[in-house]
Amino acid sequence: MTNKPCKKDLLQWINVVSFAVNDVNLFLDTHPTDQKALEFFHEYSKLRNQAMHEYAKYYGPLTVDTTVESCTDRWNWINEPWPWQEGGC
């Protein structure tokens, strides 16, 4: 059994690593051979993917692709609040 991460902390972590991935994605569009930026992208992209799967497992999917992580007999995508709602991401 792994330790269940805190929902708020995990979401904050997803926001942080996703921002890093997005920002360096834009930088790489105009600097496609920058090795430091490429390394940074790979590192944070990996962290983001792990965190997205972990979040889906414990707190419901943030993308349709990760719905399989939270295996129940119900369609989980619509269960958790939407991002603009109270308790949403």
Binding site: H31, V64, P83, W84, C89
Partner: protein
């Protein structure tokens, strides 16, 4: 193709409604320098962009603008959630309420509806990139103007994030323009339109 992610790019948690501010901030949803116009501008321009770096930046920034539209929409939604009739009348929100109740609809602060005339897709890389750089600065000014009107940290915080992204996007579009100009004839950048004159259509030489 797009895939939805069920989270905001930057969190929005507003605990105090304020219909007056919502009417101002709505300009960044459907106004002349708003996020909807920004996204439609870049996603429209990208099809005829002949340089892969720039097609990439238009696609990725155009996509990020959709996430920004969602942040602005969340701010407006939370600022107008469960408003009482008294608050609606007192704040001047009645003019919006009569047509849309509390539903979100893209308009400028002055009530002008969203229109595609807010942006241009000219089919000329130099022209389009100048438009894009100007658009980012105009949005930045709008966010500066909004920040002068508010002091609630719950609203200021996501608005500051959005303002900062305008500056980063401006930088990336500047690099894109540089990439385009480095490929073109440095003696006359305007000799041809590389999105139109590359397939033996030019009879002028």
């Amino acid at each position: 193709m797009w895939i939805y992610e069920k989270r905001l790019q930057y969190p929005v948690k507003i605990t105090q409604t304020n219909a007056k501010l919502a009417q101002v901030i709505i300009s960044q949803f459907g106004g002349p320098d708003g996020e909807l116009a920004a996204s439609m501008r870049y996603l429209s321009q990208r099809y005829t962009m002949p340089y892969k770096e720039v097609t990439g930046i238009l696609t990725d920034i155009g996509t990020e603008e959709l996430a920004h539209m969602e942040i602005i929409s969340a701010i407006i939604y939370q600022l107008t959630k469960d408003l009482s009739m008294e608050e609606i009348q007192k704040s001047g929100f009645d003019k919006y309420y009569v047509d849309h109740t509390l539903g979100l609809w893209p308009q400028a602060a002055g009530g002008v509806p969203f229109t595609a005339t807010y942006f241009q897709s000219k089919g000329d890389p130099i022209t389009d990139l100048h438009e894009d750089m100007a658009a980012e600065q105009k949005a930045r000014t709008t966010y500066d103007n909004i920040l002068r009107l508010i002091n609630d940290p719950e609203i200021c915080d996501p608005i500051r994030f959005l303002r900062e992204r305008e500056i980063v996007h401006y930088q990336r579009f500047g690099e894109s323009l540089r990439i385009v100009q480095d490929i073109l004839d440095s003696k006359n950048f305007y000799a041809i339109n590389p999105a139109f004159d590359m397939s033996d259509k030019c009879n002028c030489k």
